[in-house]
Structures are given as C-alpha cells and as structure tokens.
Amino acid sequence: MTGVFGLLAATWAYLLANSDRFLELFREHLMLVFVSEAMAVAVAIPLGILATRNDRVKRVVETVGNVAQTVPTLAIIALMFPLLGLGFLPALVGLFVYALLPVLTNTIVGLENVDGGTVEAARGMGMSDWTILRKIRLPLALPVIFAGIRTSTVLNVGTAYLAFFIGGGGLGVWVIGGIQLFNTPQLIAGAVSGALLAVTLDGLLALAERRLGGEAGTGHAATS
C-alpha cells in the first residue's frame, strides 16, 4: 500500500513541478480531440444523409467503413506520416479519419430506423422530402446520431495518445516518454489525466444525450 501511495505522491509532486508543461500537453490533447471530432461530425452527418438517399453512396460508404474498421488505430496514424509528414496536422487528419466511422454509422442507422408510418404520415400531409428530413427524420434520429458522437469522442481521447508517434503532441508525450525513460510518475500523470478526461466527457455527453432523448420522446417510445 505504501508503494501505491508513494507513487501517487510522487505523481502529484511531478505534476506540480511541471504544471506548465502539463497544461500545454493537456491543451494539445484537447485540441486534437475536439478539432478532429468536429471535423468528423461535420463530414459524417451530411455523408450519412446522402447515403440514406442514394444506394450507391451507401454501398461505397459501408464498404470503405468496414475496411477502415479493420485497420489498427496505430496504422491509421502511422499512415499519415508518408502522406502528410510530421506534426499536429497529420495527427489531426488521422484522428479525424478514425472518429468518422461511429458518427457515420449511427447517422445512417438513426435515419433509417425512423418509423415508416411516421414518414408516410408526413408525406401524406404534404411535406416535401426536404421538410421531412429537416423536421421529422433528423430530429427523430438525433439521439442515435448523438450516441455515435459520444462513442467517437471517448474513443478519440484514447486514440489521441498515439499522435505522439508522428509528432502531434498531446498527453502521449508523457505516457510514451514515461515508458521509454522509466519515469513512472510522468507516465501516470499523463495516463490518469487522459482517463479522467474520457470519463468526464462521456458523462457530460451522456447527460446531453438523455436530455435529447427525452425531448425526442424516444425514451418513452421504447417502452410503449
């Protein structure tokens, strides 16, 4: 037990002594996660909408998505090196590619699972396709799409550690540096802060998701 407490104390001391460096890495990590996630959402939702309206697009998207899923995370990050070189931007693009799939899949599933009767009623009352998408399909699919964003974000926090390998910065610098240098306090400071970040984001997004779900009435619909 003293070993654990001693380690925690050493980690805490390390954090305090290097707080400037920690904040810098933490900020980089957040930037990597949020910017790549935002890009992924901005691309995946329109692409998902397109896929539900066009079978050819859907087939291409699904095939590419399934192949992409089998490529290891590290490989995607590593692939960015020959394509884009080293630094923040290649790391960002790698994370973006990796974050894309859960949002895309959930957008397609969410839109396709909107009850057929609901859509038929909307069409029968004289809504145009565009109005049906905007006022019926998207709002009803929103909780599912949001769940995809949540999964993707949490995964992204973990994946962003790998940005270190192509010079993207972030908390990976401490974790992987810590392993290589046998600097355990540094390793733990980097790992625990990332874990806490993932848990916090997951909790916040789950809260937002429940509120969305409540508004859309899907929470009740499942039981009726």
Binding site: D115, G117, T118, A121, M125, M127, A216, G217
Partner: protein, 332 residues
C-alpha cells in the same frame, strides 16, 4: 368529388394491384373500400393523394386530374389518417395537430385556436393534452390526435386507411361511434379503407367491395346485404346477413309516426317517465337514430311488442317488433 376513370396500377414485379377501376366517391358521403388483404384497396386510396401514381387511367379530384395538381399542395387539402397513426413523437400533441396549418402558412393565432377547437372535438381537453408528448398517450388517445391532425386544415376530403385497426375492440367501437358523430358535424367526403365488413357496414354510406384489384360491388349497406351480386360478396358479407341488416336498419326507417290504439297504453305509461316497468322488465325507449337491433333487443328484454320512439324528450312514434320482422323478410 373523387372519380376513378379506368384506373390501373401495375407494379414492376408484375402485380396488378388495381385493375380497371371505374367509380365515383360522391361529395359528402363516407365511402368504404373493403376487401380481403391484397385486394388493392389501400393502393386505390393512395392514388387519390398521389402516394401512388396510376400506370393507366385517370383519377379526378373535384373534376381535376390529380396529375395536374402539385402533389404537396393536393395532399395539404386532403386529410390523411393511417393505421400506424404516424404521430411525430418529438413534437407535442399541439404541434402535431398544427402540422398542416403550418405547412399552409396560417398565422399562429389562427392555428392555436384551431388546434384547441379540434382537441376539444376529439375529447382531449387542450389544457391537459396540448403540451404532452404522443408517447405519453394511450393507443385510443393517439388515434384521436391522428384524426384531429388530419382534420386540422379543414380538408374537403379525408382518406382513412384502417384508422381504428390497431385498437382494442372496445376502444375501436368507441372511436367509431364518436367518429360517426363528428362526421355529421364536419360534413366532409370520406374515403375509408378497412378489411372488416362490420366496420364497413357501420361507417359507410356507400360500400365498395374489392377483390384482386377489381370493384365487385358498389352499393349502400342495405342494398349490399339485400342483394349481394356475386357468390364472393355473399361469402364476404357472411352468413348472418339478417342480423347485420338489423344493425344497419335505423329505427326511423321502420317506426310509425302515429301511435295505434293497441299500443297507446305503452306510450301513455311512458309520458313523463324515463323508463317504465312492464311485466317482463323495464321498458327503455329508443331514439330514431338507434339501430333496429337495439330496438329488437329492448323489446325482447322487456317482453313487449312495441317501444316508444323518443326524440328530445317527446314521443315521436312507435316501433313494433312485427314492423322490424316484416322489413327483414322483405329483404331476404
């Protein structure tokens, strides 16, 4: 109001869903399309609001070829109720009912007023229900909202596809009865689809029996029961035609406006009383709009030959068991 002129609908897989349909839904009537599943009744209905397009022939709406009308505009003029109800679960009850008025660009005050009026009409007090979500409601309440939503913009025509089909039998009866009352008030042309002959006989002024995409018989409920034109219609209507006719026949069609001497006692005893105890039991009067079935069962229950017919608390005539019997044997 709606006319089908040699209408065909063939699907690419070779199904001939509608096969040379020629008939007219008259203005102000409730016309019921009835037939076994797969007979093309739902397709026929969807040809009216262009959810389906005919492969041949023409559907006229108020004298105009529907193909010449813009689909979304046409649909906003036609109320549409389906079995799945299809309420928008992410919107409140009020927002659901306001759908078509909003599509039509009504101003907010007029829409709000209309929504409250319709919720009242459907027995859902607006104060209690307007802000609720459809998922909080029972099946019957949901379909009430569905009907209110279809009526919102005061459509000239209502299309109703098995609207009460997913409800339990008691709620279904209730909603059918209420809808018959509402229909008298709103005086809209209604095209109603069902596979249930009893519902068709109850709701319809005219009944169109379909089979394999063709119209087999188009008649009033009474005519259909009296003279089924084919073996198929006879079987579809069922072996208990006589009993069904009792349900379709209204007291006002068989009652005598003057009270014959031999029944004067019953009527006298009734004056001023809601019900009278006779030898067999309590005599409960009937209303002119009640069915002959109700009158007959009350006669049997009370052990009497005749019942007073009462409208607005005055005796307007008498209905006798023999009059009902005579009418029945005429038909058979």
């Amino acid at each position: 109001m709606i006319r089908f002129d040699n209408v065909h609908k063939r699907y690419s897989d070779g199904t001939h869903a509608v096969d040379g349909l020629d008939f007219e839904v008259e203005e102000g009537t409730t016309t019921v399309l009835v037939g076994p599943s797969g007979c093309g009744k739902t397709t026929t209905m969807k040809l009216v609001n262009r959810l389906e397009e005919p492969t041949d022939g023409t559907v006229y709406y108020d004298g105009t070829d529907v193909e010449a009308l813009e689909a979304t505009e046409l649909r906003r003029r036609i109320g549409y109720v389906i079995q799945d109800i299809g309420l928008f679960d992410h919107m409140t009850v009020g927002e659901n009912v306001a759908t078509v008025p909003e599509l039509k660009g009504w101003d907010a005050d007029r829409t709000d007023e209309r929504v409250d009026e319709l919720l009242d009409l459907m027995g859902l007090p607006p104060g209690e229900y307007r802000e609720r979500h459809p998922s909080d409601l029972s099946g019957g309440q949901r379909q009430r909202v569905g009907v209110a939503r279809a009526l919102a913009a005061g459509p000239d025509v209502m299309l109703m596809d098995e609207p009460f089909g997913a409800l339990d039998p008691i709620t279904r009866e209730e909603l059918q009865d209420e809808f018959i009352d509402i229909q008298r008030e709103i005086d809209t042309t209604i095209l109603f689809v069902t596979h249930d002959i009893n519902e068709a006989l109850k709701m319809g002024d005219r009944i169109a029996i379909m089979r394999d995409g063709k119209l087999v018989q188009y008649d009033t409920p009474t005519a259909l029961l009296d003279e089924p034109k084919t073996k198929f219609v006879e079987e579809f209507v069922g072996p208990d035609r006589t009993l069904k006719r009792l349900r379709v026949l209204r007291v006002e069609e068989v009652m005598r406006p003057e009270v014959p001497d031999e029944y004067a006692d019953i009527v006298d005893a009734f004056q001023g009383n809601d019900a009278v105890v006779a030898d067999g039991g309590e005599i409960v009067p009937v209303a002119p709009t009640d069915s002959a079935q109700v009158a007959l069962s009350r006669c049997i229950q009370a052990g009497v030959e005749a019942l007073p017919v009462v409208e607005d608390s005055t005796v307007v005539g008498v209905v006798t068991e023999s009059a009902i019997r005579n009418r029945q044997s005429e038909g058979a």
